[in-house]
C-alpha cells in the first residue's frame, strides 16, 4: 500500500464524512453535512483534554503547527475513480490549514503535505484508520517527555519561547515538566548507586512537588528537597498523589513526628480519623463497591467541577488512595490490563 507524497491544494481535499470520529458526532444531525459542520465535530471530538494516550487537543495542535510553520507528518488522502480526493487520516490538521488560510495567518497554508493513494478499497481505508487511531504512535511516558524538554532547553539551548510554542503553547506545562525533571535528577538521582534501579515512575511525585504549597511547606518546616527525595525513595511517601497533603502533615507537630517515623499515610490518619460508622464497617466489599460506583456515576457535574478546582480536598485524596488500593488488589487478582 504505497502512496505518493505531494503538496495538495487544501480545497482540493475533502474532509472525510466516513471517518468514525466525525460520524459519531453527526449521525443524529439532520441538516446538510457541510465542511463547517464536520469541522465543528472535529473540534468537539478532539478536545477531550486527554493526551495520556498521545492524543492532542485541537488547540495545542494548532499552536504546534503554527510554531513549526507546518505539519511534520503528511495527511493521508485517497483519490477515488471519479478523481475526488478524500482525507483518510489528518482531518483536523487539514481543517486547521484551511482555518489559517482563511484567517490570513502569515505563512503558506494554501497547500498541505499529503501521502496520496489511488483507488483504495474499503479494506485499505480501514487498515490506515485502524493503524492511525487504534494502534497509533506509542506515546512517551511523562518522565521521557520531561527529559526531552529539559535536554532541548538546557543542553541544546533551545529558547524557552520556541520550546513552549512547539509543545502547544502552555508555558505552565513546560515549566512544571522541566522543573520536576530537574528536581528529580538533582535530588533523587544522587540517592542511587550505579547498580541501583532508578524508578522513573516516581517522577509523578516530583510533578506534585511543583505545587507551590508543597515546596513552601517543605522549606518552612526546615527540610530540603534532598529530604523530600529521601521520603520518596524510602517509601515514607507511598501514594504519589498524596504528596499534596504534605503541607497539612508538616504543619502539624504530631503528624510530622508520625510521618518521619512511619510515613505519610499513618501521619494523615493521626490528623483525621473519619468516623465511618458501624454500618459501613460491617458492609461487605461488594456492597461498598456497588455503593461507591453508584455515587461516582451519579456525581453531579457541578460537584465534578468543584472537585476539579479543589484537588486538595480530602475526598479527592480518599478517592486516590482507594484507587491505588483497588488497582493493587485487581492486579493481584489478575483482573487488570497491563496498561491499567
Amino acid at each position: 500500500m504505497a502512496g505518493v507524497q505531494q503538496d495538495l491544494p487544501i480545497h482540493e481535499v475533502e474532509l472525510d464524512r466516513g471517518n468514525p470520529r466525525i460520524r459519531r458526532f453527526l449521525e443524529h444531525y439532520e441538516g446538510e453535512i457541510t465542511d463547517d459542520r464536520i469541522a465543528l465535530a472535529l473540534d468537539v471530538a478532539g478536545d477531550n483534554g486527554d493526551d495520556s494516550k498521545g492524543a492532542i487537543s485541537p488547540d495545542r495542535l494548532r499552536n504546534s503547527i503554527l510554531a513549526n510553520r507546518g505539519i511534520i507528518q503528511p495527511i493521508i488522502v485517497n483519490r477515488g475513480a471519479d478523481g475526488r480526493k478524500v482525507c483518510i487520516e489528518g482531518n483536523t490538521r487539514l481543517y486547521i490549514y484551511r482555518q489559517f488560510h482563511s484567517d490570513g495567518v502569515p505563512g503558506d497554508w494554501s497547500t498541505i503535505p499529503a501521502i496520496v493513494h489511488d483507488l483504495l478499497e474499503a479494506d485499505g481505508l480501514d487498515a490506515i484508520r485502524l493503524q492511525a487511531h487504534l494502534v497509533g504512535p506509542r506515546s512517551w511516558d511523562a518522565y521521557s517527555k520531561a527529559k526531552y524538554q529539559w535536554e532541548l532547553h538546557y543542553k541544546h539551548m533551545m529558547p524557552l519561547d520556541r520550546l513552549v510554542d512547539l509543545c502547544g503553547g502552555d508555558r505552565r506545562d513546560v515549566q512544571k515538566s522541566i522543573n520536576a525533571y530537574a528536581d528529580m535528577e538533582e535530588h533523587f538521582r544522587r540517592l542511587h548507586g550505579p547498580e541501583d534501579y532508578y524508578d522513573t515512575q516516581r517522577y509523578s511525585g516530583f510533578v506534585e512537588l511543583q505545587n507551590n504549597k508543597v515546596k513552601t511547606a517543605i522549606y518552612n518546616a526546615n527540610f530540603t528537597l534532598d529530604d523530600f527525595a529521601g521520603w520518596i525513595k524510602s517509601g515514607k511517601i507511598g501514594s504519589l498523589a498524596s504528596v499534596r497533603q504534605l503541607p497539612r502533615v508538616l504543619g502539624n507537630k504530631n503528624a510530622k513526628a508520625v510521618f518521619l517515623k512511619k510515613g505519610l499515610k499513618a501521619a494523615l490518619d493521626t490528623i483525621e480519623q473519619p468516623d465511618i460508622g458501624a454500618d459501613l464497617r460491617s458492609a461487605s466489599m461488594g456492597q461498598l463497591s456497588l455503593a461507591l460506583r453508584e455515587k461516582v456515576e451519579g456525581l453531579p457535574f457541578s460537584e465534578l467541577q468543584r472537585l476539579r478546582a479543589n484537588p486538595d480536598e480530602d475526598v479527592v485524596r480518599h478517592l486516590a488512595d482507594t484507587f491505588d488500593a483497588l488497582k493493587s488488589l485487581l492486579s493481584n487478582l489478575g483482573q487488570l490490563d497491563d496498561d491499567g
Binding site: 539551548m157 529558547p159 524557552l160 503553547g169 513546560v174 515549566q175 525533571y181 530537574a182 528536581d183 513552601t216
Partner: protein
C-alpha cells in the same frame, strides 16, 4: 490604569532579567491568555517569572495607590513575600502610578518582616 501598570511591569522584568535560555513569564494580562500566574498563598500575583530549571523566581504586582492602601493588598503582598522568603534569589516588584513611589516604598517596607530580608524588593514608577 491597572492594565497599563501590568504591561509596564512585564516590560521591565523582561528588559532586566535576560537569562541565557530565556525567561518564563506568566502574567495576568490579556496578551498572555491562559498563561496566567499560579495562585500563591491564596492570592494571584500579576506576574510570575523564572528561568528554567528555576534558579530564581520573581513575583510582581501592579497597584493603584487607592488599592495599595487596603488591608487586602497588605495581606496579598505579605503572602507573596512569605513565598519568596524561602526561595533562593527571589525578587518582588511593585509597580505603582507616577509620583507614588515614595509612599508605596514606605508601605512596602512596613509590610516586610525580618524573615523577608533575603527578598530583593523594588518599587517601579509607572508612567
Amino acid at each position: 490604569m491597572h492594565a497599563r501598570l501590568v504591561q509596564q511591569l512585564i516590560a521591565h522584568v523582561k528588559r532586566v532579567h535576560v537569562p541565557e535560555r530565556g525567561l518564563l513569564v506568566l502574567a495576568d494580562h490579556e496578551s498572555f491568555g491562559r498563561n496566567s500566574p499560579p495562585r500563591i498563598n491564596g492570592f494571584t500575583p500579576d506576574l510570575f517569572a523564572s528561568d528554567l530549571p528555576a534558579t530564581f523566581e520573581i513575583l510582581g504586582e501592579a497597584k493603584t495607590m487607592g488599592d495599595l492602601q487596603t488591608d487586602r493588598s497588605h495581606r496579598q503582598i505579605a503572602a507573596f513575600l512569605d513565598y519568596l522568603a524561602v526561595r533562593a534569589s527571589s525578587r518582588f516588584y511593585l509597580c505603582v502610578p507616577p509620583l507614588s513611589k515614595v509612599r508605596a516604598t514606605s508601605i512596602l517596607r512596613s509590610l516586610m518582616r525580618p524573615e523577608h530580608e533575603s527578598v530583593l524588593v523594588e518599587v517601579l514608577d509607572g508612567t
